[in-house]
């Protein structure tokens, strides 16, 4: 049972990680929080429903999620971040992206109603189980884990091996310096938003496929948790987002098994506060002390 909970925690954690990766990418490049990612995560499931409803096969729906969420990410960048470039605008941009998220929720509720909607994935897919060392594990979970790992691998390759990734890293290091190098910072921002939003959408896709439903109110708290995970892992640190996500996923699963389900949100937030007090830069991030900025 406990082993099964740990496996489940890893799968849950990998979905947290996808959204946390989105947050951390944007934060790394812009030093800002993109709250709309929470709702792009929520939209992931509804894009599947809409595209299957229009006759698309499931694999195409999956790709459409990445594209549609990515494009919406560009809209968010344009509306909420393009104009707010200075460091002072951190809160302004965050609140603006939050408002964009509110609009997304409202549009989804107008279209599909406020209640959960069934995601058209064959029940046999969701129900397929394998026995593994006495554990019962859904094939879907394995698929989710595999897809998530592939996405993370692609992200890693994009960031560390391609010209685009080099530019993103340069801007993350210092936008001013990147501009001096002739890097088009605006373009890099757009690329970052596209990738981050596609990742969040992918997280929502996995989530809705696994649960068999999509709901309009799931994004906000999930997204906030992903933010806490980003802080636990170290802001702007991709590896930290993944490991932090898995850590929180496993802890949450085990907490429920051991009867601490009532604590709910407290678990992740208390963990984040403790981590930040002990290591202000997060578990895996560089220790951002105030000194280097002195």
């Amino acid at each position: 049972m406990i082993a099964e909970q740990i496996v489940n925690g890893v799968v849950l954690g990998s979905m947290y990680a996808l959204v946390a990766l989105g947050f951390t990418l944007v934060f790394g490049v812009l030093d800002k929080l993109n709250f709309a990612l929470s709702e792009l995560f929520m939209l992931g499931g509804f894009v599947v429903i809409a595209s299957v409803g229009l006759g698309a096969p499931l694999w195409l729906a999956g790709i459409l999620v990445l594209v549609v969420c990515g494009l919406l990410g560009l809209v968010v960048e344009f509306v909420s971040f393009r104009k707010f470039t200075s460091a002072d605008a951190q809160v302004t941009a965050a609140l603006s992206s939050l408002a964009v998220g509110l609009i997304m929720i409202d549009l989804v509720q107008k279209t599909w109603g406020g209640e959960p909607v069934s995601v058209p994935v064959p029940i046999e897919w969701r129900r397929a189980n394998v026995a593994f060392f006495g554990m019962q594990i859904q094939v879907m979970k394995i698929v989710i884990l595999a897809v998530t790992l592939v996405l993370m691998g692609v992200l890693h390759w994009l960031i560390s091996r391609t010209a685009m990734g080099r530019n993103i890293r340069a801007v993350a290091e210092s936008p001013t310096f990147a501009t001096l190098l002739g890097i088009d910072v605006k373009r890099v921002n757009q690329q970052t938003f596209f990738i981050a939003s596609a990742l969040a959408g992918a997280g929502g896709l996995m989530f809705s496929l696994r649960n068999g439903i999509a709901s309009s109110d799931i994004g906000f708290t999930f997204g906030l948790k992903a933010l806490a995970i980003m802080a636990i892992g170290g802001m702007g640190d991709l590896r930290g987002a993944v490991l932090g996500g898995i850590l929180v996923g496993v802890i949450e699963s085990l907490a429920i098994q051991f009867g601490f389900g009532k604590l709910g949100e407290i678990i992740v937030w208390a963990l984040m506060i403790l981590v930040l007090l002990a290591r202000p830069g997060g578990l895996f991030g560089a220790a951002h002390t105030t000194e280097q900025r002195a």
Partner: protein, 408 residues
Amino acid sequence: MFDRRQLLASTAALAVAGHAPLALAADKPPIKVGSILAMTGIGAVYGILYNAALKMAVDDVNAAGGVNGSKLELLQEDDQLQPSQSVLCFRKLAGMGAVVELGPLTGTSWETVAPIANAMKMPALCFTASKAGISAPPYALRIAPPDDTAIPEGVAEFMKLHPNVKKIAIAGDAQEASGAAGMELFAKMAKELGLEVVATASYQTRTSDFSPDAIKIRGANPDAIFISSLGPTSLPLVKELEVQGFDKPILLNSLVWAGAGFIHAVGTAGKNVYTIGFSTNDVDPANPKYNDYVKRFIERTKTTTNLPQPVNVCNTTLPYDTVFLVADIMRKAGIDGTTPADKARELIRAGLDGLKAYQGINKITLRDTGDGHIKCHLLKANAQTKQWEYALAPDQRIKTPAAFKARG
């Protein structure tokens, strides 16, 4: 000038009502009836559903000649399920001259509004909230049967259908008042029936992952699961249990049945799912009034709302009955549009005070607590038709009323 839309509406209503009294006195001012429902946000599905029933009732009352020569006018306010907004709407409606207020939707909002209704001497009737013990007579009454009668009645039928159930698991939304109260009631019932509770799982309204709960429950190997939470919150858990191959019966509390989301999204996971309620879309040979309502309501929602079809009538009969109940009281008390609001409210309160039972579409009995009672039954999800239906045949259902103290 005669409003064309009004004309159309009343003509339609007349046609439906089947008779045409011409005493519609256009010169008497209307009687204002307030309603507080969530029309936007997460609760909008419910708000739209109940609003349709309220409007249908008001149209029917007006088509039948209104009340003492005055038409009813429905003032609708949206509280977005937020208690502070409910209060705002409540007092706003009072300020607009409403003589009685219907709603709000949730127990939390109802609990916030009920004391204010008494303080303001404003009759308020709630027709949805299920949490026990929160009504505040004489001004704030609830027509709906709360969980403290519904759950025992439902569980009794459930045990009749599944007599071999010995070990149960209880799950629910512990961070929501109605969900938590329902969990306690389930636990109490289990104790009374000698059932062993092998696992308890508390989740939250916005829990991200129900797998751990499902694994825990499955691991404890219960014969059945009782789940208590608002609307569709239990849906992911039910679906997760199916995915994990859990094949035992699941009993949900009454709150689930009223919403469109659950029954429409439950899919094949619905085959083991039961809930508690008092009306379905089934034809009831003994109650032609009910059959007529079901037919008309479903037709009406097809054109006036974007609710997923087929709509489950569920407890929309309650808002409908509530309007007629209020209209009856007003008729008897001689209230019309010219009665000062204060006086009308007092008269309605007096009418409610003496009320012991009301026979509308449903038979509603009033209890000392200010809550209604309607005999509840076990319902079963039919995933194919996306409708709830009675789990037991009419002669199998348990008829004995639950132990409660009626008024008087």
